[in-house]
C-alpha cells in the first residue's frame, strides 16, 4: 500500500509538471486559477483543456496500461524478460496501422481501428497455432509467437517497400517511433473505453495469475486450468497494448521495464502490486514524453527516450547485479 501511494504521488507530480512545462509555460497559480474556473487568458484555458490535459492523460494512461500488459505477459510466461512483442502483438498492430495509412489515408480513425484489430488477430493467430502444434505449452506458444511475429514483420517490410519514398515512407517511419503529439480527448476516451473492462478483468484475475506463476502443473493441482487463464490473460493484455499502439504508434520498453522497477523497489509479489506497476509505467512514459516535447523545439519521437531509459536502467540493474539475485518471481 505504501509503495502504491508513493508511486501515485510521483505520477501526480509528473502530471502537474508535464502540464505546466512546455513552449508556453503555465505556472502553478495559472493552473490553479484555470481549475477553479477563472482562467488568466483564453489562450491559457485552451492550451490547458485542448492540448496539455488530453496529452498528459493519454500519456499517463498509455504508460500505465503498457506496464500492466508487460506484467501480465511476464507472469503468464513465468519469465521476467518477456514483453508483449513475444506473441507478435506490436508487429501486428504496425501492419494494421501502416496498411490503413497507405490505402485509406483519408480516414485516420480507420488506421487506429485497423492497428487494434491486426494486433489482436496476430495474437489470436499465435494462440491458435500453439494450440494446433500441441507442443509443450509454453515453448509452443513462444515459438508460434515468433512465427507470427516474423510473418507480420515480413508484411511490414513489404508495405514499406510499396510505400511512396517521398511522402508515405517518412510518415511510416515516424509512426513506428511513436509519439503523442496528436493526442486529443478522443484518444483519451478510446484508450479508456477499450481498457476499462480488460483492466477490471485482469484485476479480478490477480489471484489465479499468482498461482500460475508457480508453473502449470502446480496450477492444475491447485484446481485451476492454466490454459484458460493464460489465454484469457494474454488476450486481455493484448487489448491493452493494441489500444495504446493504435493511438500512439510503437512505444517500446515501458512494458518490459516498469514491472522490473517495481520489483527492484522491493515488491515481492508483483501481482498484488498492479496499482504500483500502473503508476510506475505512467510516470516513466510521462517523463519520456516530457523530454520528447521540451528538449528541442521540434517533437522528438517518444520511443527514442523510452529505449534510452530502458537500456540505461537495464544496464544499471545488470551492473549492480540486482537481477541475478531476484529469481523468477512474478
Amino acid at each position: 500500500m505504501k509503495k502504491f501511494i508513493i508511486s501515485l504521488l510521483i505520477l501526480i507530480l509528473l502530471l502537474l509538471l508535464s502540464i505546466s512545462v512546455g513552449r508556453y509555460a503555465l505556472s502553478l497559480e495559472e493552473l490553479y486559477s484555470i481549475l477553479i474556473g477563472n482562467p488568466p487568458s483564453d489562450i491559457a484555458k485552451d492550451l490547458f483543456f485542448q492540448i496539455r490535459l488530453p496529452r498528459v492523460v493519454t500519456v499517463a494512461l498509455s504508460g500505465g496500461v503498457l506496464a500492466l500488459s508487460g506484467l501480465v505477459f511476464q507472469t503468464v510466461f513465468s519469465n521476467p524478460l518477456v514483453s508483449p512483442d513475444v506473441l507478435g502483438a506490436t508487429n501486428g498492430c504496425a501492419v494494421g496501422a501502416i496498411f490503413a495509412m497507405l490505402f485509406f489515408p483519408s480516414f485516420p480513425l480507420f488506421s487506429q481501428l485497423s492497428a487494434f484489430l491486426c494486433g489482436l488477430i496476430s495474437v489470436i493467430a499465435s494462440l491458435s497455432l500453439a494450440n494446433f502444434v500441441k507442443q509443450n505449452s509454453l515453448l509452443g506458444l513462444i515459438l508460434s509467437g515468433m512465427v507470427i511475429g516474423s510473418l507480420a514483420s515480413a508484411m511490414l517490410m513489404i508495405l514499406k517497400y510499396c510505400a511512396d519514398p517521398m511522402h508515405q515512407l517518412p510518415a511510416i517511419e515516424y509512426w513506428l517511433m511513436g509519439g503523442f503529439q496528436n493526442a486529443v480527448w478522443d484518444d483519451v476516451w478510446s484508450i479508456f473505453l477499450c481498457n476499462a473492462l480488460p483492466l477490471i478483468f485482469l484485476y479480478l484475475f490477480r489471484f489465479p495469475l499468482k498461482v500460475l506463476s508457480l508453473g502449470d502443473e502446480r496450477a492444475i493441482s491447485l484446481g485451476l486450468s492454466p490454459l484458460f487463464i493464460r489465454r484469457s490473460a494474454i488476450l486481455l493484455a493484448t487489448i491493452l497494448v493494441a489500444s495504446v499502439i493504435s493511438v500512439a504508434g510503437m512505444v517500446s520498453w515501458v512494458a518490459l521495464i516498469a514491472p522490473h522497477l517495481v520489483r527492484v523497489c522491493g515488491a515481492r509479489d508483483i501481482t498484488s502490486n498492479m496499482g504500483t506497476v500502473f503508476c510506475c509505467g505512467g510516470s516513466l512514459l510521462l517523463l519520456a514524453d516530457l523530454f520528447a516535447r521540451t528538449l528541442t523545439t521540434a517533437e522528438i519521437p517518444v520511443s527514442i527516450f523510452t529505449s534510452l531509459f530502458g537500456a540505461s536502467l537495464l544496464m544499471v540493474l545488470l551492473l549492480c547485479g540486482i537481477l541475478e539475485h531476484r529469481e523468477v518471481n512474478v
Partner: protein, 261 residues
C-alpha cells in the same frame, strides 16, 4: 472411510511403457509408501493418481467416481499432490500457503480473513508460524518442504500424494516429517501415498508398501515377515546388494566392501 483407487492403469510416454496395468487402493487412515528405483515411474504414478496426467487406459476413481472427468477445482478438493521440486519464489510463506485455497475461490475472489486464520492454524501445526513472513527462497530445504505440505493441507483434500518429500532432508528431519504425516493421517482422517528412496523409512512408517518395479506395482501390507517379501521384491532392481539384516533393517552390501551389521 474414503478410497482412492487406480484400476489397471497403463501409460506410455514417447512409446516407452512406464506403467503397465497398475492397480492400487488407498484408504483414509492409511500411509502407503511407494518404493522404486530412479525412473521406475513413481512420479508418473502420483501424477496420474492426482489427475494431472491422463492414462492411456485404466481408471482412477474416488469412491467409485472417476476423477479424470472432474474439473480441476473439484479434483483438487479430493486429491492434493506435493510436487518434487518446490519453486524458489519470492512470495512469503504465508502467501505461498494461502495459494492452497485456490480450488475454493470463485472468479475474482482472493483469500479472506477465515482463510488467513485457517492457514495460520495449519502453519502452527507444522511449526511454520515464526517463518510466515519470510520469503520462500530464504528457507532451508526442510522448511520449504513443510511449507509445501502446508499448502497441500490448505486444499483440505482427503488424499495427499507426496513425491519424494524427504529427498532434501537430513535423517532427523526425514523422521520428523514422516512422524508429522503419520499423525496427520491418523487425526485428520486423510490417506497418504508417499514416494521415498529409503526402504527403512517404509519399514518404520508404512501401513503398507507399494513397490514399483518393471512397470508393475506390487503392494505388500504390514504383516509378519513382510521385510523378507520386500527384500525379495527389491532384489531385481538392486541386483541383490540390498539385504535385510536379522534386526529387520535394510543394508547395502557392495562387492568391494561388506558393511557390518
Amino acid at each position: 472411510m474414503n478410497t482412492l483407487s487406480a484400476h489397471k492403469i497403463t501409460l506410455n510416454y514417447h512409446k516407452k511403457c512406464i506403467l503397465n496395468q497398475v492397480s492400487l487402493s488407498l484408504h483414509t487412515g492409511e500411509l502407503v509408501i511407494l518404493l522404486g528405483v530412479n525412473g521406475a515411474g513413481k512420479s508418473t504414478l502420483l501424477r496420474v493418481l492426482s489427475g494431472i496426467l491422463e492414462p492411456q487406459s485404466g481408471l482412477v476413481s474416488y469412491d467409485d467416481d472417476p476423477i479424470h472427468p472432474l474439473s480441476p477445482a473439484k479434483r483438487a478438493k479430493l486429491v492434493s499432490l506435493l510436487h518434487q521440486d518446490i519453486p524458489y519464489c519470492t512470495m512469503t510463506v504465508l502467501e505461498f500457503v494461502l495459494l492452497g485455497v485456490a480450488p475454493y475461490l470463485h472468479f475474482g475472489q482472493i483469500p479472506n480473513k477465515t482463510h488467513h486464520t485457517q492457514a495460520q492454524n495449519i502453519m502452527e501445526q507444522l511449526s511454520l508460524l515464526p517463518l510466515q513472513n519470510r520469503p520462500m527462497n530464504q528457507l532451508s530445504g526442510g522448511e520449504r518442504q513443510r511449507a509445501a505440505l502446508a499448502q497441500c493441507l490448505m486444499t483440505n483434500a482427503t488424499f495427499l500424494l507426496l513425491d519424494e518429500p524427504t529427498a532434501s532432508l537430513d535423517v532427523r528431519r526425514q523422521h520428523e516429517f514422516l512422524d508429522l504425516l503419520t499423525s496427520l493421517v491418523q487425526t485428520e482422517e486423510k490417506g497418504a501415498l508417499v514416494s521415498v528412496h529409503d526402504p527403512n523409512l517404509a519399514l518404520d512408517y508404512a501401513s503398507s508398501v507399494a513397490v514399483l518395479s518393471q512397470n508393475q506395482l506390487i503392494v505388500v501390507p504390514r504383516r509378519q515377515g513382510w521385510e523378507h517379501e520386500l527384500e525379495h521384491l527389491l532384489h531385481p532392481d538392486y541386483s541383490s546388494s540390498l539385504v535385510c539384516s536379522p534386526s529387520f533393517r535394510f543394508h547395502w552390501t557392495s562387492s568391494k566392501q561388506n558393511v557390518p551389521n
